[in-house]
Point group: C2
Chain length 167, copies 2
């Protein structure tokens, strides 16, 4: 199979709605599924973004961002956030509701099930993407949030956990 399709086999992947603000304070939100924990202590999370993404441009200006982990109840609003947008407040226009983060200026998405507030650690180019690493400065989650995490299979196909199994 074509090697460039390898990412379809590392799936389904948890999704984060990443909130950022531009230099004027206008908020942005966009879904990313190339995300993973990279260090536990100190806590560092990373995600990979195409270089033209607004999320990346905003992070370069403000050095902060918030990862919001959505459940399936957020799917239609998340899908809006994945489309092209030219207004000035994508969070509002998507129907999502923002609330204040605790440690950073970038808002949280209220209806999500976990929130990871970050300051920029570093960025590095890998091929056609940029890997952004963020120091986790605040973390909150609903109980058993991992059982409700929205997962991306590919294109417009999503899923959530089935039954829990153990060895």
């Amino acid at each position: 199979m074509e090697t460039k399709n390898f990412y379809k086999a590392i799936a389904p992947r948890p999704i984060a709605l990443i909130t950022t603000i531009d230099e004027k304070g206008n908020p942005d939100v966009a879904p990313f599924s190339f995300i993973m924990p990279v260090s536990i202590e100190p806590p560092i999370v990373c995600f990979s973004a195409a270089p033209q993404r607004k999320t990346l441009k905003n992070i370069r200006k403000t050095k902060e961002f918030t990862l919001n982990i959505p459940s399936k109840e957020n799917l239609n609003k998340l899908w809006f956030c994945a489309q092209k947008y030219s207004g000035d407040n994508k969070i509002r226009d998507s129907g999502l509701t923002e609330e204040k983060s605790i440690k950073v200026k970038q808002p949280r998405i209220k209806a999500c099930i976990a929130w990871i507030e970050c300051t920029l650690d570093s960025e590095r180019e890998y091929g056609d993407h940029v890997l952004v690493a963020g120091k986790v400065v605040e973390f909150d989650a609903a109980e058993d949030s991992a059982l409700k995490t929205l997962l991306h299979i590919g294109k417009d196909k999503f899923t959530i956990s089935g039954e829990t199994i153990s060895p």
Copy 2:
């Protein structure tokens, strides 16, 4: 919540059984769930490993590795691979069966549902882990493999996809 627990909310995560060989040719296999695609073209995958992991030591010596994506049928053997091991052939002793990779020396795990063969691109330290990036040189997957991928919730809890949903 404690920030170091943030990784529990980026879950459930796809797992890869990463196969490597040491300088004598002895094979090793170990599960990792801090993995993600990082670039599409060129295809690059990354994973994060604690610095003492044998997987990392072997990759430094041989500059190659294979990611094997397991389904739930591999759960008990995967669990064996997650424990301490001091023998000389963990693949054999786990009950897994190896077969030849196409482009690299590190074997594939036969009963898996996708295989991503890599050459080492680079490594970089992030906190208490090392991020390893691999160029994808060969990729194969069973049809609809993403619907069968074993996902790690945490500790001894795993799951697979539930129903597929769309916006």
